[in-house]
Symmetry: D3
Subunit: 248 residues, 6 copies
């Protein structure tokens, strides 16, 4: 059930059955030679909607632009400053909580968001406590990265072994190829598998990872792999969501 | 050309041909008994993409949640505070400007965004000037409301006459019915045409407009009307975009 | 009744009779060759005080500096960033609301303020709701531009026809000539009527409108015209104020 | 020379002769039984303009609302939060500095502003340094309280002895009686001289100082005393201003 | 070499030999029945200073209060909101960078800080880029948790096995017992090993972990264990610091 | 009693006996040729702890970095922007107030902090009032500078006469020599007593006071003087603290 495709009366009815909502969060940033700039947003969205379909959960609008300061030397990358992303998440959660939502389950497509999102959770808890005092609702926020579960890890390893890497991975590119088959890009890459390694700021990232990939061979991406990855992710994350709702 | 569906190399190539980008902005808020909560975001997105197709312009990610403080008494509505929306827009435009984008054309789906977006433009100009001094790029931002042009006005009037109203209008509902035919809602409404009139804050809005509509009869919405409206809007706004790029 | 010229006991007594307050807001920015930098603040103040005299309303202190980022290439112009202006307005309204003021009627002298002021209204409503919950007072804010009413429009047209323009207009210059007869400037202008047209940021404004005027012939300003304009504005806006207070 | 009553060309000409500007800052807050709510703003303004006349300095718009959190239990008092006042002052000074102003001389009417204004000076210096780097102009800000100079102290003592007190003083009330003779209030006060003493927040202030005065006997105020005080202040502060401009 | 115990001339001399600085960051929050409220700050400080002694690195002042929103139901806990901590870290790093420091090595004592600190790094990179443009220095920030290295992990396991837990651990309590032998607390705890498990906000934390411990048996803490843990941590982290400085 | 060396149960017990807490605040900034960069933090800490010992008061963690924008031309100086320091203090006081602390006694080591700290007090009072309404606890904050009391003034004068100066004073250097005897620096200074005088921003400070001292002869500092100064300060400030707690 998508919030954007519901009426307010449907949202009101849903809230009588559940206090949970799934919020996809991605990024708009370079993903190497054949990865889409929207990869992280698109992956989070397709998987979150799958989880919504599987569990009956409400799925909110996707946050398309996240924290991508380190990608800013590559054309087309967009970023919120961490402080802006925190403010945005605070407004999202606190406004939804006015209607009775209390369980906020973020499905994340971008490792670079994790710190800011987790920081935001505590900004939210602090505001909820400060503004609402003893009557504050019991808000709970959690973040799952779509690729961090046993099912997806196993499948990524099976499909791509040590060529998965950590940015512009064949797994995430496969997911977008499956979901957006009209936007599959075929680009020669040299070397097939990019160098791995960390980075600091945007200039440092570009210097170390000149075509944008980190440790990955996204030329191996295939839409049929993407389909399997989506299915694995939806299955695993649906169980995580149910478990989250069921916590005491 | 959608930014989310492009690679960074494609974005870089695009920037050699144009400094313009289209940014759809909507809202996630109640739209009356049969209107989707995502109406404003969905309308802005479908029309902006149409303009992108017609003009070859790059279309960035849709801003799904806008300024909807006054809708917060209806379940499912989300809002950014104006100050958060301004910060978000500043980050969007300034990060895109790092790559060379200089013409920012917002296609807006929600009247409630206008003030914050226009305020943001001056926040952006001030920051651009403060941070970059004499070398500041010549940034230009503009906002068009998809329904504010002669073609769409004429067609809305032809289709709905004085039952168009100003919120949860049959025009915008028609557009979403056309674009999302699986999400057409059929809801009885009483009276057919809601009372018109202004409002102040969220409680006042609910008091005056108890089912969320303002002056409108969205029961008249039809997907085929939506198609015509989209075509009219795309035509008119494509010309506005070309004109914006062509300004001295 | 001016707040600055009242004692706190008088303010307390006033609040037993009315919850309304008029707040003039202007700008400190260039107004062409013969317009005063304070034009917008001075016009808003003189007219707001006239409305206060006519209606018995409390008139608060004038906000002299507004949002004038686009005028910063002309000496003497001052500006608040939109985000600062929003913070200021939030503090003004929320502090007055602690005493029981609930109807905030801004008399505006500067088109450039409109977006930030309207954005501020929703920032205020959001804060009022967040901080005060179910007990929040019913705050209502509105903005009127002194020149946007039938009486003033008609008179401006009668006096100046299509030489009124949109910045540094003969109407506003006339008002300041009437109110500050010792500060009438006589400056040759070439051409008599400046070119019309829009603008983006400060550099763009200066490039398009090199002497600061937009579409206007302020050489036609006369103090006696100013007197008539003030009278027309006071009459029209007094009715708007009464109507605002009388709303259900 | 008042900025509000000048044209931009006059401001530009002035800047060829001086980099200095005087900025009056007051407060809108209760001033006891017979003191005007605008006392601090009005005193600062009349004296600052006198200094401008005496020295030929440019005088900017008065900041009418300052930091008066502790007065909020008295009707009609308005306040900016310290953080808002700091943002406002930063915008004032940085925008004026774009035109070449470099010496900012604040004439203050309210003790409660001092901390926030001095904090703002360092916020400004930090921003100037951060934004403009090695080319940053040499900005200098100073604050003078109109009553803190030998001439005014001597005269206050001569006129009111130990009945001057520290808030709603006969001196400041006299100044407003002189400047606004139509707004002289005659109110019985019991006791003639209020109790002295400190305070913490607004509730504490009201508890300790129930009619708003601190240690003062403002019933002794007379317009003719006000005239002498203004003259003394203008003389002393004019010398301070000249000295400020003349510093190496 | 401690910054607080150096003169500015010594700091200047140091900067000719190294661009690195170590910044301890802790928290002021409950640490169970026998743990000190300052545990995280004290551990970070003692270990960071040990690393400074071992490597000759400059060690800056300890950040004593971190992000502890979730501990606020226990007396004496203090917290910065994440947004405040980010602002603080931005100011720390950017002000140190003005002198030439470029490598910022945070030794962290509190898991709850990680998200906000990592978010801050990108806020800093973004500001450095925005403010300083092409001439921005190559700033690099990293965070190490003193307990997350092979040496400390091995020793904790050897000493406490599965009674280490994750908050108010016997390891951290041992470190403070070693460093502050006069402040060793002996408190009966029931059960010896607290229940493990996650938490959301402060109320939820207290509900799940009523005496403040998570999965730990801090009654096992001993000063002599603390000594060994400090030595292990200093050794491991000194190598991490050297490696950080040595990165290309 | 140090908060960092207490358990939460001890803090809870303390709160049954007192609502007071002492918070040392210093700065990390140049202190001339032989003064430690940490002078202000170290002096505030040693004296605050002495007061805690003498009165039984709880002493919180020292704020080591304050407002030192004007020292940024000297290596090793760190600063918070005033707005950041205000946010930090707000979080400190409001989080402590959640446990029942209501009397906040800041022992300050740095004149440059005064304005920001005092501004913060009103930011805190405003937030307390806004967030907590009629139930807001009666928070009281005060600041004492350790050198501003009759005992210390008298002793400084006796020891150093007119060579005390106002920055990098022999008194404060003596205190750190007493407290940190291993960090006594012996540096030739020319002239013995530095020139006095004010300053504006960081560049101006360095230009006027090239070795960092203002009007002082810190070569006269001796640890035995420091001991006497600490004793004098502890005695005087302990009485101030008791008096603060005892106020009606």
């Amino acid at each position: 059930m998508q919030l954007l495709l519901s009426t307010w009366a449907e949202a009101e009815a849903y809230l009588k059955t559940s206090k949970g909502i799934i919020l996809p969060i991605g990024s708009t940033e370079q993903h190497g030679p054949n990865g889409l700039i929207g990869t992280d947003a698109l992956c989070a969205e397709v998987i979150a909607r799958g989880v919504g379909d599987a569990t009956g959960a409400m799925v909110g609008p996707t946050i398309p632009v996240g924290m991508a300061v380190h990608h800013m030397e590559f054309a087309g990358s967009m970023t919120l400053k961490p402080s802006t992303l925190i403010a945005l998440l605070r407004d999202y959660v606190l406004s939804l909580s006015e209607h009775g939502f209390q369980r906020f389950f973020f499905v994340n497509g971008h490792g670079g968001n994790i710190a800011s999102v987790r920081a935001a959770f505590y900004e939210i808890y602090a505001e909820n406590r400060a503004l609402r005092g003893k009557d504050a609702p019991d808000l709970r926020c959690t973040l799952v990265n779509w690729w961090e579960n046993a099912e997806v890890s196993r499948l990524s390893k099976e499909l791509f072994g040590n060529k998965e890497g950590s940015h512009a991975t064949p797994s995430e590119v496969s997911v977008t190829q499956y979901a957006f088959p009209d936007s599959i890009k075929t680009t020669a890459m040299e070397p097939e598998t990019a160098a791995a390694g960390g980075f600091y700021d945007a200039r440092d990232f570009r210097r170390r990872h000149p075509d944008g990939r980190i440790g990955s061979a996204p030329g191996l991406a295939r839409p049929e792999h993407g389909q399997r990855l989506v299915e694995a992710a939806v299955g695993a994350i649906s169980r995580q969501y149910e478990s989250f709702l069921g916590e005491a």
